[in-house]
Symmetry: C2
Amino acid sequence: MTDRSPSARSSDRARPDVAVVGAGPIGLAIAWRCAARGLRVVVHDAAPGSGASAVAAGMLSPVAEAYFGERQLTELLLASAARWPAFAAELTETTGAAIGYRTEGTLMVGLTGDDLAEARRLWAYQQGLGLPVTPLRPSELRDREPALAPRVRGGALAPTDHQVDPRLLVPALRTAAQRAGAALVPQAVRQLSDVDARVTVVAAGCGAAALTGLPVRPVKGQILRLRAPDGVAPGFRHVIRGYADGEHVYLVPRSDGEVVLGATVEERSDTTVTAGAVQRLLRAGVDLLPELAEYDLVEAVAGLRPGTPDNAPILGPLPGRPDVLAATGHHRHGIVLTPITADLIADLVLGGVPDPLLAPLRADRFGAAGPAGPAMAASGGPEPTMEGDRWS
Amino acid sequence: MTDRSPSARSSDRARPDVAVVGAGPIGLAIAWRCAARGLRVVVHDAAPGSGASAVAAGMLSPVAEAYFGERQLTELLLASAARWPAFAAELTETTGAAIGYRTEGTLMVGLTGDDLAEARRLWAYQQGLGLPVTPLRPSELRDREPALAPRVRGGALAPTDHQVDPRLLVPALRTAAQRAGAALVPQAVRQLSDVDARVTVVAAGCGAAALTGLPVRPVKGQILRLRAPDGVAPGFRHVIRGYADGEHVYLVPRSDGEVVLGATVEERSDTTVTAGAVQRLLRAGVDLLPELAEYDLVEAVAGLRPGTPDNAPILGPLPGRPDVLAATGHHRHGIVLTPITADLIADLVLGGVPDPLLAPLRADRFGAAGPAGPAMAASGGPEPTMEGDRWS
């Protein structure tokens, strides 16, 4: 990408090469990668890390998240997960910060016979893609994780699905970006004309809709944080994903005693915590791991994921705006997709040949519902809730 | 009670007549009543209203709370509830403050056939005491409260069981006490010798154990606060008390949209909110009133009630210490018992003939486990958890 873009101006010496809108994991990782490659980078965010990442569980689960009809997305998740070990190592080496990267693997379980039947359909699909999913006999399941309820009917292991702690990841990425020379401006960007740079990267999560007119809608998620009593580590080591009487939940244990229990997926744009959602999450969690009943309930929060019509992110230039790159729409996959998003966008900024992975993620793939130029962006773009109605 | 008590000293002009330890509803109401009768009153509390009242629901329910084997306590609850209308009117008139006093009555319901059978046993007992309990046909129940779940099997009305909002009551009582001339000292009292007055009233809830050696133990209660969406009032008007698959819960609707959902009764002295308790409360609440599933969950807290071996309060002088009056041990009944406690204790302070109601509430009724003198009080008295073990 060069300075021949429409918004190029004469005062190039003070002007940054890249303005990143949004200091969540995606924006900060892009800033880090760009700054590390010698570009002048400014990141704009009034409240860094306050979006979807603040409520994310941090599962790196391309295998367990390989769902029917999302094969292309699965390829992307796998490609990014493959970059996580090196990404985590580099980040920790650069900053000295712990980010809670753990590799115990993920156990997928079914509580009842019906739950297990549903889970087995998915495991068969995942195995059909050649993914590492190992069904376990009940005795093997309990040997691996004795804390599981005796009535859990069966399970399977996805050994390559790992985890990281998003609330540690964001400050680590911020440190890395700043050490590489990126500047953080603690101000909100209301419209694209608020920033001035050779290239603008919109990594604003749900906020991308109003800035760009892209069909990004908020998908509400409610999540709980529990804590093992007496400050000890949770009584289980694996990430546990389970179907429990039809409810699909996950449990992510952290070394400090925290357990993340989530998450609802709701086509709503409010962030209230509702009694019914909390009850359903707790019921499913306690049914799968009875010891959770004695855990402290320390937090119940709701956040908004940036969803797209096909559940895949939008990565690349806005039509007619080669100087504006979208990096949004990561939905439930923002954490696992952070490394590959940062690499692909940094490549685009530096004007390299677009990676073939980007072809299905282009901003113009939604046709008429696609992105708007500056005029439409200034008017706020389509209402997220209207789009949500259409896609739900 | 006169100034011939053992701790009477010469500097009587500056010395208060009454030192009240504890600025919860009980302590503040006593201070108000004493000050209004011309006594010099000082109330000591580092954090007024931060004890059991902060998590209390505020039900004034002598009928619904009339349990087997507690006949004497029921008499006391009825006598105090009878004073509530005048008490509330006087408090509101004196202070101009709203205290959320509502008189819609209480609906007692059973979710399943088993729940209803258990409830009916209790209603028959309550009717046998001559209390106003009116069984309702299912259609009558739904006419009164259409929000109840269709599967609720049956119910009864206790029209004289009312409610007040404890979080409004405490500041109102504080204003009333101060306007009557009582002084508030925002300091904790660690031992009785920290205060100097002709008469000391220990209204310190669970803190009374360490101060007096009385067998007051903490009884943990977890409680939730929900809020109807969009700022409207809850979709039900009565206090609802229900058995739901063996779980006993209550739901208290407030005009501002809040619903209090409680409460656990646990022989524990911690104040952590546990996942299992929240799940059970929510499950029972949503089963009884399905619309609660869409309510915001705005608070989950735990508090400690001051329990006694026979569940009745302790009102009167410590043995050998006629200058120290206990007013504690109100367990789950502190709010309903506030008016009568204040009147009875104020009478004692002023040296009147003890009301016959006080006879079964004396501080020496627990025999060897009874109160200690200053020496034992200084050593902290028996450990609440040890006592808890014995009584659980």
